[in-house]
Structure formats: C-alpha cells, structure tokens
C-alpha cells in the first residue's frame, strides 16, 4: 500500500472538487464503507494518492419520492437498505438480493453507491504478480484459458472475461433503477442498464461513471413495485453464505387478475461484466399463464450467445435451470428471505 493523503468532505461540492484536483499526477478515490477499496489498496491493485472520505455527506436517507418511487441514498448502508420497511414492502427483490451477498459485517459497512462501483473479484485482477488487462491495460488476460470457473459466459471480450460481483445490482437492473450522479457542473441520471459496461477493448473501465463523479442516490421507480408480490432472487454459490454467485437470477412477475403474466423482469448475475438483462426475453412471458415452457423460452433467449470458457461451461445449463427456478419461485409468491434455493428453513434465521 502506498502513502496517500486523506480529506473528509463536508458537502458534495467539495468532495467533487477534491476528487478532480489531482496533486502531482496522482489519482484520487472516494471512500465510503471501504469494504472493497481498502482490500484493493492492500493488494496493490489500486494506489490512490488521495482518499476523499464521503461518509459525512448528506446522502444516507432512504425516502419516498413524490411520484411514488423510492430513493435510496448512496451512503445508506446495504443492511439498512435491505431491512428498510419500504424496501421490504415494495421492492422485496432488492432486500433478498442484498441479503444473499457478503456477510452481515460487510453489509453493515458497505454503502449502496459503493456496491454499484465495486470491482470484479477475478483472482488475476487481485494478484499483482500476474497480468490483467483490467488492472494493467494491454498486459493480457490469464483468466482466458486459466482459472475461470467464476467468469463470464455472456458479453465477454478477448481482453477480459471478468464478471461484476454484486447481487444488489442484479435486482436494481431487473427493477429499472436509475442512478443519480453529480459532477462539477451538473446532476445527471443514468438508467441502470447503462451504468456498467461490457469490457470490449477497454476492460479497465467498469462503468460509465467518471472518477470525479459522485453517485448521490439510486431511485427505484414506482412502476416496479408491481413486482413486489411475485419476485425471487436465486443465488447459486459454492457455500451457503459469504460466497460470490456462480449464477444468480433476479426475477419479478406482474400477474394480472386473470392469472396471466402482465409483465416480467429477469436479470442475471455472475455471468457477465454487468447484470445481464434482455428485454426481448422478458417479452416472451407477456400474456402467458405461468408455465415452465414459457420460462424455458425466456431462459433460452436470455442466454442466447452464451459461451463457456472451459471451467465455467457448466454455468450455461446452471443458468438455464436457475432462471426457470427463479420464475417458478416468483410465480408462487414472494417469500421474504434470502431466496437461497433449497434453504427455506433458514428464512427465519436471517
């Protein structure tokens, strides 16, 4: 870890100014919960010369919006968000996704904005002794042809096959969230689908948010509350807690009075450089009575073009099955738990 300076920002304007003013050619990073950045600094993956502490900024509230949606402050902690009554009531998919990630200790520290900006857990990215295009552009991607059990089956490039590790973001993608971003000049609003990038030939860029921009809030639209009664987050992982997804699925169904699916949302985690969503796949479910054949068609469309990298070939069939399971579970009605497949007995423990 390199020496760095530290400033605690009092209001958003000074935070943005401190992020932009690079002394001596160094880089500045904001820090909130620090649950990812500090690891990356210890490992020598990131070496900011200035840390801008944003924890004192007034961005921790979770509050209803005038149009009926819910605004999640960027500094609200993941655990506060997951257990917030409005989130549980109207967006239980968000609760379930958050609670299936990390550990209670990490969720107590991790901020909502930081969760969106967290970096991949690819083992090559974390080991500075080896090449990685994301860490060192142009150096190569040893995950290709190497250890890639956790890696992408969709949207990868010859330069990077890493996946975005968040669970929270998978639910946000499914529910059409908007990220509110503030920079020196203005405030802008980014549709969730446009926040994370595919790696292409610039895998070092995770998102479309610049390093001197500040995530202020994440907004959940009123319209997405219609999935509250029929949603499920299924996460398949190597152990029952504190493990990243091999495959995860956020599914929400709006089921009409006639029992037909009015609208569907399905997003995948653990399979791409960003939460994976295809609207055309969701449309295949519209006006269908809930049934496995329709789910399978949706799953097949979502996974169109999926390619294994060797160790992760299994993810394609695992994802197909997980999508079907998530839609079945959602159709059966939302359960407030971590939506861990096969562990209904543990719902009460969380």
């Amino acid at each position: 870890m390199n020496p760095f300076s530290y400033v605690a920002a009092k209001e958003p304007g000074s935070a943005i100014a401190a992020l932009a003013a690079n002394e001596g050619g160094g880089t500045a990073c904001m820090i909130a919960g620090g649950t990812n950045l500090i690891d990356l600094m210890k490992q020598g993956v990131m070496h900011p010369t200035r840390l801008v502490d944003i924890n004192a900024l007034p961005m921790a509230a979770i509050e209803p919006m005038v149009d009926g949606g819910l605004r999640l402050g960027a500094l609200a902690r993941n655990s506060e968000t997951a257990y917030h009554p409005d989130v549980r009531q109207s967006y239980p998919l968000v609760s379930a996704a958050i609670l299936s990630g990390a550990s209670p200790q990490l969720r107590n520290m991790a901020s909502n904005g930081g969760n969106v900006l967290q970096r991949t857990r690819c083992q090559y990215f974390y080991d500075v002794a080896v090449a990685c295009n994301k860490r060192e552009p142009g150096s190569g991607c040893p995950a290709i042809g190497g250890l890639n059990r956790y890696h992408a089956i969709l949207g990868a490039s010859p330069g990077c096959i890493a996946v975005h590790p968040s669970d929270f973001c998978v639910a946000l993608a499914a529910l059409d969230a908007t990220v509110v971003v503030q920079s020196a000049g203005e405030e802008r609003r980014v549709a969730f689908a446009d926040v994370h990038r595919l790696p292409g030939d610039r895998p070092h860029m995770d998102t479309t948010i610049a390093s001197d921009e500040l995530i202020v809030a994440i907004e959940l639209p009123a319209n997405s509350a219609r999935f509250a009664n029929h949603s499920a987050y299924i996460k398949i992982r190597d152990r029952a807690s504190y493990a990243f997804a091999l495959v995860s699925v956020a599914a929400g169904l709006d089921i009409g009075d006639d029992g037909r699916i009015e609208s569907a949302r399905v997003a995948l985690g653990g399979v791409a450089h960003k939460p994976w969503r295809i609207e055309a796949a969701e449309e295949l479910l519209q006006r269908e009575m809930p049934n496995d054949e329709a789910y399978e068609r949706c799953a097949a469309r979502l996974l169109e073009g999926a390619v294994g990298q060797g160790q992760n070939d299994f993810k394609i069939s695992m994802a197909l099955r997980a999508i079907v399971r998530a839609l079945q579970t959602a159709a059966a009605g939302t359960r407030i738990d971590t939506a861990n497949p096969g562990r209904p007995d543990l719902a009460a423990r969380e």
């Binding site: 870890m1 390199n2 020496p3 490992q43 020598g44 857990r121 083992q123 090559y124 974390y126 080991d127 002794a129 080896v130 040893p142 042809g145 190497g146 250890l147 059990r149 398949i236 992982r237 190597d238 152990r239 029952a240 807690s241 504190y242 493990a243 990243f244 091999l246 299994f314 993810k315 069939s317 695992m318 099955r321 997980a322 399971r325 497949p341 096969g342 562990r343 543990l346 423990r349």
Partner: protein, 759 residues
C-alpha cells in the same frame, strides 16, 4: 534470562473453579485471555527497538533471480534495509542443518540462500523498515528480475514420473508388504468395485497467519515469539541454521491461533526475522499476509485407485489401494494415505501402494488427519459402492467384514470399540429407517440421502519430559514445552495435574510454550494428551512420592505408611485408613523448611509392550444431506459422529475437537480447494473469500458420541488422541449420502455444485 525477557504468565483457572476430575467437562482456562484480547500471539509482542520486515515473494515458479534493484525501496522514509541472498548474514550452507525435527527425506529448502527459484511465492527478500506501513510500501517497490525456466505443477500429467518415496519421516510407515495375492483374488471374484479418485490441494489457513517476533537483548540473546507447534523445534532449527548455541536462543509460543499441522515445521518467516535481527542488531517482527499463507505447505493432491472384491454374500476377498501424491522437487513429503486400507477390514488379500510425483511446488506438510483425510475417503466411498453392488446395507457390509485382529500384522488391538461406535451412532441417527435404494426420499426440489463411513487414526505416544513442583504456598506448578494450538492443552494438562492431587484447578499452574522447559514432542498426530499428559501424570506421582518421604521425616504416622496407603486430596496428604491423619501440603513444606519440592520425570513409551498391539482410534460417521440436483447445491443437515478414543479427559474440549473435525470434513467434502494456474505454476486461491471453508450456515446439527473405551497400553491415562479422528471419514459419509440422495457418484473432492449438478 536478560532484562528484556518478560516472564510468561500462563493462563490459569479462575478462583472458585474448584475440582474438576478427569472425565468431567472443564471450560478452557485460556478462554478469557483469548476472548478479551489479553492473550498475546506471535506478532503481538514488542520491544522498544522493534522494526518490521515484509517478505517479498517470487512471481515465477522456476528459474533464477537475475537482479534485485532496491533503489526505490531504500529511498522510502524509514526503510532500513533489504535482505536477500546477495547480502544475508552468515548462515550455514550444509543442508543437514536445515532439517528440523520432523523434516521428511530430501534436501530442505534454504530461504534466501541463492538465486534459484524453486516454487512460485518463494521468499526472495525481506524489506525492513521502522514501521509496518513503510516496510510494506518499500517492499512493493523492490524490483526483482527473473529468468524463467519451464516448470511442472500438474500431478496427473506427470503421473508416469512417480517414484517410491524416501521413508525417512517421523510417523510415516511405508505401505506394508502384500498379504496374500490381491490381484489374483480380484480377478477370480464375482463382485467387484474398481474406481479412481481425485483429491485436490488444500491449505490450512489458521486464523492467525504465520509470524515471528525476535526480541534482541543487549547481550545478543534472542527471545523469539514464533507461530509454531513446537518451540523446541524452532529453537533447534535457529540454532543449527545460524550456528547459535542453545543458550543464545529462546523460542516461545504461549498462544497459537490455530495451526492444523502447518506449524509443525518452522516456516520461512522465522529464519528471515532472525536474519534481520542479526544483521540490523535490532528486534524484528515479520508476519505473513493471508496471501502468503499459500506459499507454505499444503495438503497434497492425490490420485487414488481402489479395487475391492467380495463374495456374493459380501465377504471381502481382495483390497487393493494405490495412491499417487505430489511433493516438491527438494523433499519427499510422505504421509500414510493407503495404510488405513490394511487396518480397517478383515481380508486375506491386501495390496497397497504409495508413490510420489515431484513438482515445482513448495513441500506439502501435514494437515489435520494427514493422509487419512484423503485415503480413508477413497476406501470408504469404494466400500459404499461395493454395498450397492451387493445390494447390502453399507453398515451391515462393514460389520460383516469387521476386523477382529489387525488384518495385516495379525496383532490384537490394544482396544477397539468400533462396534459400539457403529451401534450407538446408527441408533442416534436412526439408520435402521434408511431405505436401501438411492433416490428414495424427496422433498420439493431436494433429494435427501443418508450415508455413513468408518474413520480410523493411529493412537500414538512419544517420549516427553515434565517437571512438577509444589511451592510453599501450596501451588502445584507443572511444566513441559508443550503447545496449545487451540485444542485445550492448557486446560487438560491442568486438569490431569490437579486430578492426581485432588486439587481445585486454580491451585495448578501449567507452564508450556517455551523452549527452555522440559522436552515435549512437536504438537501433532493426536498424541499430546497421551504423551505430555502421561508425562505430567508421571511427574505428579513422582512428586507425591517425594512428599510422602518428606511427610515421613516429619510425622511417624507417615514414616510407617507405605506410599499406597496414603492419598492426596483437598490439598493434603493423608492416610487412606485414617483421613484425619493428614498434613496440608503447605504446612508440610513449612515444617520441612523447604521453599519448594520439585521433581523431573521422563516418560518413555513402553515400546516393547505397545508393539504387541495394533493401536488406533476409531469412529463411525453418519450423515444426512439434501441435494438440489438441478442446481447442484448440497446441504449437510445432520451428522452423528461416534468416537472410540480411549478415556476422554475433558468431554467439553474433546467434543469441540470432534465437532471442529466434522465441520472441516464437510468443508473438505464440499468446499476446500486451492487452485493452481498450471501455466503460471502459481496458486491463485489466495484469500479467505476465495478459499471456502464452511460458514455457520453450512454447519448442521452435529451429535458427538464418545463410546466407552479404556486403553492403558496406548497411555497410562487410558487416553488416545482426538485431534484427527473427528475429520476422518466425514467426506466419505457426505459423498455416500449424496449418492444415496441422487444416484450420482462423485469421486473427487471438493464436490462443488458444478460437479454434483445433474447432467
């Protein structure tokens, strides 16, 4: 001792704890110190002149260092120096001096010795600075250049290069010679199983990473706090490598935050810290990072081949078990992988084989139930497969082939209550209600399966010395250079000493974790209670004889009484026939004008007697799993582990040991693996986020049963060890339960969702 050497204050039972006889549960006397943070571990000791070293590791798997540029490193404020093969202080070069007490055959690794790189992560330099932060930053700037050479890290691909290993290692026995004609019996039989297994590399990852603090006093004496399972092994190693006499080096390990075998041998942070202390003439601390914990020893991967044959009624006719394991290029690390297959079941034809492949890794090292964890897994899964071939209950098959005497040697067992383990474990689990066919129990998306397996571990006893001293205030002080890696040594040894005198636990002080104390063996192999515990019991009895003699000098009533006619209870020596005729021990010393009475005792195992018996602890493990076969997820929902390990000294500590072993077995079965990128020859599973062990949520209800057993041949206390036996057999029971649930047989570890998932 010099002025910088603070005296170790061992944890002691709290006032009011009272008498807790052997066999009764006692809470850990070191518990309060550990949970309140007052227990100091190796990296937590300090000195006014302390500086800090950070280790730099090789990024290539094989080759040589071509240059080391320390310009930027030394420019960091607070940087004190860079120690590498180019400038290290004098060390001895003869490899024999690097052999620690339990080194296997071969040529031990010599840290910072020359420019050769033998494995990825090999230490190449120590960067020392005034603070940890400065040292870490300076280390990140060290520019080390290498010349790469081709490396080999794949076991399967190099199987043809396997060799018969050197047999020179404490605790290792090469596979016995063939009994009968196993191949022929196999060929002639009608019911057979012929299966192969892969087990992968695991790392110990104790909570406390490896660390050494060297405190240098003004006269040059080194007091070294080291993370080790033997202070005396580390002391021996430092003395020999650096040519420092025993009087110049003291090694201490009063608290060890888990080790599981990883600290049986000195790890490289120890010599690096000593080099810095000698070169800079200062006190030095060196601690490893979690990532560096994969650059030390590991549980070796194995490829195993098991062939079983039986009569149509289920009588075993032939057992063949061959294993190939990996080792380093410089040493033959050996462990007993296949021998268990010649110990568990009665059979006339047994053939066992064990070979090694040398790869460009660091030497493997013992990891909890070394060899047994992999070997018994293969045997017990194969036995399960045989039971389905025979359409026979897996437990009934084992009972049918129960070995009444050691199958290879024909020796009787010193004790073997395995039948009671089977019976009591099965009863507790409800095994009799098990449907025989796989895929018989289903609940929504999940199949339920019940599996079982047998476990076995050698019951060892080594030699040890102990000292027992009665002080004027009536305090009993016992000592031996033993180690407590979290297993309960402080507590159990205190209990053993207190029990002999009928004293409350708080009247006993047990000193350990210091190389200057009476000789104890390296803490491993489930032998500490049988060895050090017996030595302490022996020392206490010898002390009682001395006190009896002393009482005789003061009191005619005792002079005429034989030792057998007196007893020690309630802090007194008294006549059994007339308890009123008694001396309090403190009064006895005062009357004798003695400030203390002390004795030393040497425990030598009764080898002549022991060798006439086969000696082992046994277990029966029963397990329930629920498998979501479409998604591949497995949860273990119930485990019953029934253990026969002789007399249990402290059922609370022993239950913890077995419970921990079962949790580890579940982890071994489902989660644990260090993956190597063979193109880089480098372990890439380097953090506890990537290296999965069971979380609380993966841990089911675990029932531990200790069946009645007493074994005065293994130890004077009647005890065997409980350190390893809890782990052995668990992975097989999980695997067998997965088969019973789904009908899918997995023959590799770990059994992750992608492996278990139905096609």
């Amino acid at each position: 001792m010099t002025q910088l050497d603070d005296t170790l204050v061992p944890p002691q039972a709290a006032p009011g704890t009272g008498e807790i006889p052997l066999g009764q549960p006692a809470s850990r006397i070191d518990g309060p110190a550990k949970v309140t943070g007052t227990a100091q571990f190796a990296a937590e000791h300090g000195a006014p002149d302390l500086c800090v070293g950070v280790i730099v590791n090789a990024t290539i798997a094989k080759g040589r260092i071509t240059s080391i540029d320390a310009t930027a490193t030394l420019a960091v404020a607070g940087a004190l120096g860079v120690i590498s093969h180019l400038n290290r202080p004098h060390v001895r070069s003869w490899r024999l001096f690097y052999k620690d007490m339990i080194a296997p055959g071969g040529k031990p690794f010599r840290p910072l010795h020359d420019d050769r790189i033998a494995f990825s992560g090999q230490p190449v330099a120590l960067v020392v600075a005034e603070t940890f932060e400065a040292a870490r930053y300076a280390a990140s700037l060290l520019d080390v250049r290498y010349e790469r050479e081709p490396h080999e890290t794949k076991l399967a691909a190099n199987r043809d290069c396997a060799h018969t290993p050197s047999r020179f290692k404490a605790g290792y026995a090469p596979p016995p010679d063939e009994k009968g004609d196993a191949k022929r019996a196999f060929a002639d039989a009608s019911v057979k199983v012929d299966v192969s297994f892969d087990t992968h590399i695991e790392h110990h990852h104790p909570m406390e990473p490896f660390a050494t603090t060297v405190i240098r006093s003004s006269d040059g004496h080194l007091t070294i706090y080291d993370k080790t399972q033997s202070s005396q092994n580390s002391r021996w190693y430092v003395s020999r490598v650096f040519g420092l006499s025993r009087s110049r080096v003291t090694v201490r390990n009063p608290f060890v935050g888990g080790a599981f075998g990883a600290a049986l041998r000195p790890q490289y942070q120890l010599p690096l810290a000593v080099m810095a202390a000698l070169q800079l003439e200062r006190s030095v601390r060196v601690a490893m990072t979690r990532e560096q914990m994969v650059t030390i020893g590991h549980r070796p991967a194995t490829i195993q081949h098991v062939r079983l044959a039986a009569t149509e009624t289920g009588q075993l006719l032939s057992i063949q078990h061959d294993a190939v394991a990996e080792t380093s290029q410089h040493e033959d690390y050996v462990e007993n992988v296949v021998n268990w297959s010649g110990q568990l079941y009665g059979c006339e034809n047994i053939k066992l084989g064990y070979e090694l492949v040398s790869l460009d890794h660091y030497s493997p090292i013992e990891m909890r139930a070394p060899g047994g964890a992999q070997g018994v897994f293969a045997l017990e899964v194969a036995m399960d497969e045989l039971s389905y071939e025979l359409q026979k209950d897996p437990l009934a098959l084992r009972l049918q082939n129960y070995a009444e005497v050691d199958p290879i040697s024909g020796l009787p067992y010193s004790s073997k209550e395995l039948r009671a383990c089977y019976a009591q474990g099965a009863e507790k689990f409800g095994w009799s209600r098990r449907p025989q066919a796989p895929r018989s129990m289903r609940d929504r998306h999940e199949w339920t399966g019940w599996g079982m397996a047998t476990g076995i571990w050698d019951a060892l006893q080594m030699f040890a010395r102990a000292k027992a001293e009665l002080r004027a205030d009536g305090q009993l002080v016992v000592s031996s250079a033993a180690t407590d890696i979290g297993t309960g040594t402080y507590t159990v040894m205190t209990q053993i000493a207190a029990d002999t005198f009928g004293l409350p636990l708080e009247r006993v002080t047990f000193h350990m974790g210091d190389s200057t104390l009476p000789t104890a063996p390296v803490q491993g192999g489930s032998s500490h209670v049988a060895t050090v515990g017996s030595a302490i019991a022996g020392a206490c009895e010898k002390l009682q004889k001395a006190l009896h003699t002393l009482a005789g000098k003061n009191d005619k009533a005792f002079k005429s009484a034989s030792f057998e006619s007196v007893e020690f209870a309630e802090g007194t020596i008294r006549l059994r026939s007339q308890p009123a005729t008694s001396w309090s021990l403190a009064d006895l010393l005062a009357a004798s004008k003695e400030s203390s009475v002390s004795v030393k005792y040497l425990l030598l195992p009764n080898v002549l007697k022991q060798r006439k018996f086969s000696r082992a602890a046994h277990s029966a493990v029963f397990c329930e799993v629920k498998v979501d076969e479409l998604l591949g997820t497995v949860r273990v929902t119930r485990v019953v582990s029934a253990i026969a390990a002789g007399q249990i000294m402290n059922p609370k500590a022993a239950t913890s040991q077995i419970t921990g072993g079962v949790v580890w077995g579940i982890s071994q079965a489902l989660f644990e693996e260090t993956q190597c990128d063979h193109r880089l020859g480098r372990f890439m599973t380097r953090s506890l986020a990537d290296y999965h062990v069971a979380s609380n949520r993966d841990t089911p209800d675990i029932d531990v049963i200790f069946v009645d057993e007493d074994d005065r041949i293994v130890s004077q206390l009647g005890a065997k060890g409980v350190g390893e036996i809890g782990l052995v057999g668990v992975a097989a029971a999980v695997c067998n339960a997965i088969y019973h649930a789904t009908g899918k047989r997995v023959r590799q570890l770990p059994m992750t969702p992608d492996i278990v998932m139905a096609d």
